[in-house]
């Protein structure tokens, strides 16, 4: 009797099982890269973000030289003159991108590679590390300088380590960018170097608006002028701004004491001191496609 009951249970179970689909759900297995800051760069620093393979990024940035304090007569600096940078980035792989940029400050051509090297997946403290290596070629030969455009002294080299994290439900981004620049002043007889500790924080209010601060103190090394027509020393860089993000564009609007744009120039420091009330207006536009 017991055997019969067991057989009956097995048969009924089989019948019930047969009367429903046997398809089993499989868990999604695509691992998305950690995406922290919303762009591949802030106003002046790289982030750990990279372009997707085959994608492009275009940048145009302006820093107005007159101070805001010059008032309406200079339209708060917007009358110019202006330091300008154009750049084009390309995703070689999903984790490696190349960027070619040019600034009208000493006609500085800049070529850099950025590689994402480490991602730490954690709900509360995710972080990503990337590295940047770049070379700059100052193609302007000022009057009185007896060297060719292609002279080796016109080239500068730099490396940056980027640490990014995003806290509080992807609201507060923090970046640290220790940076090293070789040949900081291309007209120096003895080669100079500069080491800085770039720092930035960015708070995202929503998908469109965010507020940020960037600070780039020179820790050691050269902090002088970068052009022959400049005087005095360079200063720690400070910039405060907002980002407006909409449909593939990111707009940086800022005040800053540093009008230098390309990395080999920005890293030497700011051309004006914050204490001298030399805040200037600036903007940058990034377009991804």
């Amino acid at each position: 009797m017991k055997l019969i009951k067991t057989v009956l249970i097995i048969i009924i179970s089989n019948f019930l099982l047969a009367a429903q689909p046997k398809w089993k759900k499989t868990e999604p297995n695509k691992k998305i890269d950690l995406e922290l800051f919303h762009a591949t760069q802030t106003a002046n620093f790289p982030t750990t973000e990279s372009l997707q393979k085959g994608n492009l990024m275009y940048e145009i940035s302006h820093r107005f030289l007159p101070s805001i304090k010059d008032g309406y007569d200079e339209l708060y600096g917007l009358d110019g003159p202006t330091r300008i940078r154009f750049a084009l980035g390309y995703g070689i792989t999903d984790h490696l991108m190349v960027t070619l940029g040019r600034s009208n400050n000493t006609d500085n051509l800049d070529l850099q590679l950025k590689q994402k090297v480490f991602q730490f997946y954690n709900k509360d403290f995710p972080f990503v590390i990337s590295i940047v290596g770049g070379i700059s070629w100052n193609t302007e030969v000022p009057p009185g300088i007896n060297r060719s455009r292609g002279d080796g002294d016109n080239f500068q080299y730099y490396g940056q380590l980027i640490f990014n994290t995003m806290l509080f439900d992807k609201k507060l981004g923090i970046g640290l960018v220790p940076s090293y620049l070789q040949n900081s002043f291309i007209y120096a007889i003895e080669k100079q170097h500069t080491f800085t500790l770039g720092t930035y924080i960015q708070y995202y209010f929503n998908r469109m608006w965010s507020l940020w601060v960037e600070y780039n103190p020179v820790i050691t090394g050269y902090r002088g002028r970068i052009r022959l027509d400049e005087t005095g020393t360079s200063h720690n860089s400070l910039a405060i701004g907002v980002d407006i993000e909409t449909g593939g564009h990111i707009f940086h609007l800022m005040v800053t004491n540093n009008a230098r744009l390309n990395p080999s120039q920005y890293l030497v420091g700011a051309d004006r001191s914050v204490s001298d009330d030399m805040w200037r207006l600036g903007f940058g536009i990034l377009r991804y496609f």
């Binding site: 999604p28 564009h249 991804y288």
Partner: protein, 195 residues
């Protein structure tokens, strides 16, 4: 003796229970595509990452108790621009909360086309996107050839029906509410007449 009769009856009953079940053939060229429009341009997003099944009971195709379920991993949808994909995942679809979209339902009407193994169907069911489930009736064509069931369908959904705010594609240009969906995928039979 009575118990033996019941067992015999069950055996007989089960032997008459036919069921067909087809699963999505993941290694075939499946396509799930959406097309979104703005006033200046259209853009597509695609994935091949669809999974699910069609099931029915009975000897004839789509005879009775028809069930179908299909799901798509939204993290695999690509538009060709990484930044746009990220914005779509994080800001529009919020895939960190609702990574999968699904449709589950049944076939309401079946019409066999001539002498071929092609069927025009109307499917009734619920679609889940962005935390919202909405009932939809969707037309489609099912073709069976060489042991492969091909499903094709085109239909539209509207962002507001799923509590999705239309994003901006270019600066200050909003994406249209209507999203056109185009699916073309294959299934293979996993069982027939189980008992």
């Amino acid at each position: 003796m009575r118990l033996l009769k019941i067992i015999l009856f069950l055996f007989l009953f089960i032997s008459l229970t036919f069921a067909d079940e087809w699963h999505v053939k993941k290694d075939s060229d499946n396509l799930v595509k959406f097309t979104s429009s703005t006033t200046v341009l259209d853009f597509d997003g695609t994935t091949s990452n669809i999974d699910g099944y069609i099931y029915w009971e009975g000897k004839k195709i789509f005879e009775r108790k028809i069930e179908l379920y299909f799901e798509v991993d939204l993290n695999t949808v690509e538009t060709g621009i990484g930044k746009r994909d990220r914005d779509m995942r994080e800001d529009v679809l919020e895939t960190q909360k609702w990574q999968t979209t699904y449709f589950k339902g049944t076939i309401k009407n079946v019409k066999k086309n001539d002498s071929t193994n092609n069927y025009s169907v109307k499917v009734l069911g619920k679609m889940f996107i962005h935390g919202v489930e909405k009932e939809l009736e969707i037309p489609g064509v099912i073709k069976i050839k060489n042991g492969i069931m091909n499903v094709q369908t085109k239909f539209s959904i509207y962002l507001k029906d799923f509590n999705i705010e239309a994003p901006s594609l270019l600066a200050f240009i909003k994406v249209a509410q209507e999203i056109k969906l185009d699916l073309n995928f294959n299934l293979e039979k996993t069982r027939e007449k189980d008992n």
